[in-house]
């Protein structure tokens, strides 16, 4: 009998409360692991702030004190929030399986009835929570360097910020299968960072991109979420003002999420049948 002829392994646990517990437990372990590393504790809030100041100076020395109608630093702070969310996704969700292999816990993850997607989501959420102090630091430093925010609808701003993180998680899940299949999650994480910085308009407005790149950018949910975040925090836009933009973010997120869940479900069964996931 060949491997492909083996019966599909159907686990009893499907998305529900069990998976929720698994997500929370994985996020908790992720946070405990990172909190035990002094360099990570230093690096998490410091690196984004240094990068933010670097880009602020780049805009400053070239005489660009505004981007559109917003202050350049405000534009960059919102971009930095996107960068944090995206980095958390690629290094949290993307590296989830490789991290389990490295820690020697992959066998338990595979043997347990929980779904891989729940573990990957837990890593992603843990990474996002760990990055929250950096988010706060970026805002504080941004204000110190002259960022101006105009929030007329806190609800719209909060929803837009939430959308940034949800969009990142959906893209992360969509790429999750690829991260696992290639067994090169570190390389994938490194590779995926910079293009999204550019395409999502984190540091340069999207209308400055060549038109063909703008088309690619439109397909990314995170690009729309960042547009909404900027509109609500820098221009005082209301929920109805950004409804269309958030809708585009939601629609493209659903497409990424569906592709990700479908791919991970198939991958989950396949790797259990073959028993080769921990071969890195």
């Amino acid at each position: 009998m060949t491997v492909d002829q083996l019966p599909t392994v159907e686990t009893e646990l499907r998305p529900g409360s069990g998976d929720l517990h698994l997500v929370v437990a994985t996020a908790r372990v992720f946070l405990l692991r990172y909190a035990s590393n002094p360099i990570m504790l230093l690096r998490a809030p410091l690196s984004p702030v240094l990068i933010l100041i670097g880009f602020h100076l780049a805009y400053d020395v070239s005489g660009q004190h505004t981007v559109g109608s917003a202050s350049a630093m405000g534009f960059l702070v919102t971009g930095m929030l996107g960068t944090g969310a995206w980095s958390s996704t690629v290094w949290g969700s993307g590296n989830a399986i490789q991290s389990e292999v490295y820690e020697g816990t992959i066998s338990s993850v595979i043997a347990a009835p929980g779904r891989i997607s729940a573990v990957i989501t837990g890593h992603g959420i843990g990474s996002i929570v760990f990055g929250l102090p950096a988010l706060l630091m970026s805002v504080v430093v941004g204000l110190g360097f002259g960022a101006r925010f105009e929030v007329d609808s806190p609800v719209a701003a909060a929803l837009s910020l939430l959308a940034v993180y949800v969009c990142c998680l959906c893209i992360g899940l969509a790429f999750g299968g690829l991260f696992v299949l290639t067994r090169q999650s570190n390389a994938m994480s490194n590779f995926l960072q910079a293009p999204v910085y550019l395409l999502a308009g984190f540091f340069v407005p999207r209308d400055a991109l060549p038109s063909w790149l703008q088309t690619v950018s439109d397909a990314l949910p995170i690009a729309h979420a960042i547009d909404a975040l900027r509109a609500t925090t820098l221009d005082g836009a209301s929920l109805s003002d950004v409804g269309e933009t958030l809708g585009a973010a939601a629609l493209s997120s659903v497409a990424f999420l569906a592709a990700g869940l479908w791919g991970l479900h198939r991958l989950d069964d396949a790797v259990r049948r073959r028993g080769t996931l921990d071969l890195m």
Binding site: I39, G54, L57, S62, N190, F191, A194
Partner: protein
């Protein structure tokens, strides 16, 4: 085959035996062998496509990013393209220095390297040869893309370029050795590099010349070699500057090129002594 028990005296005699000496050719062989081994390890670990993806994506996309930020200021854009090439050198050497040693330890081969009769600095030089080659290729590619896509004006002064590169690489080798030694000591070279790199990027003058930075950043920037090196590189590649034109940058850079490697060697020796005393070289 027969076997016999080795006596204590024989063990002591073997330890006190005259160490194998290596001539220049032998050392050269170790240097190139170590560089080749690291290159093969990289390619076999990640495969050519992923290797290329990782090492090319960051410099290429960073180049596009700065070119878009400075889209209305060609002079700053040209500087930042060369700064990006300098950053590729900085990035490659810094990450490789600690990461290669960390990798050797994780694979359990660092102890063997220390026990081998080859001079320590020969295989370390081999590791760095790989890092320098890799970084130079990336830097050259960055300048090539800058020329092809953004019309970077090239007016290269070969002598100034070579002298600058030699001094710049020597200074960065020393800096990378210091950071790498610290990374090996704390058993997390990669995270240490991740912690330090944004700070270096801020003060290195990769995005803008030191002279345009605000005063509070110029102070630390003037205390490090990177800004001098990148400014001299930019002048040598785009303005055809002679050695005397860039002497104000080359002189401090030359000082760093002497000082930092010496400090790097001392740092590495200190880490080696410490790990030998603790018997912790292979501990991950």
């Amino acid at each position: 085959m027969t076997s016999r028990t080795v006596t204590d005296n024989e063990v002591v005699a073997a330890a006190q035996a005259t160490p194998v000496t290596f001539g220049p050719l032998g050392i050269l062989r170790v240097v190139t062998g170590a560089a080749r081994a690291i290159a093969k390890t990289r390619l076999q670990t990640s495969g050519l496509p992923f290797y290329l993806m990782v090492w090319l994506s960051y410099p290429v996309f960073s180049l596009l990013l700065v070119a878009l930020i400075y889209r209305a200021d060609p002079a700053l854009r040209d500087y930042a393209i060369i700064g990006g090439a300098g950053m590729a050198l900085l990035f490659g050497m810094q990450y490789n220095a600690g990461e290669i040693l960390d990798g050797e330890r994780q694979r359990g081969t660092l102890g063997n390297l220390f026990l081998s009769p080859a001079p320590r600095y020969s295989w370390l030089a081999g590791f760095q040869l790989f890092a320098v080659t890799e970084s130079l290729v990336t830097a050259t590619l960055g300048v090539g893309i800058g020329k092809a896509v953004f019309g970077l004006p090239l007016d290269i002064a070969p002598l100034t370029l070579v002298v600058t590169l030699v001094l710049f690489v020597a200074a960065m080798w020393g800096f990378a050795m210091i950071v790498g030694s610290l990374g090996v000591a704390i058993r997390d070279a990669n995270q240490l590099s991740n912690l330090l790199f944004p700070l270096m990027q801020l003060v290195a003058g990769t995005l803008y010349p030191i002279s345009l930075m605000p005063g509070w950043i110029q102070v630390p920037a003037r205390c490090l070699p990177f800004g001098y090196g990148i400014q001299a590189l930019a002048d040598a590649v785009t303005s055809g500057a002679t050695l005397s034109d860039v002497s104000s940058d080359l002189l401090p850079l030359a000082g760093f090129a002497v000082l930092l490697p010496a400090l790097g060697v001392l740092a590495f020796r200190a880490v080696e002594r410490r790990t030998r005393r603790a018997g912790a070289l292979e501990l991950v």
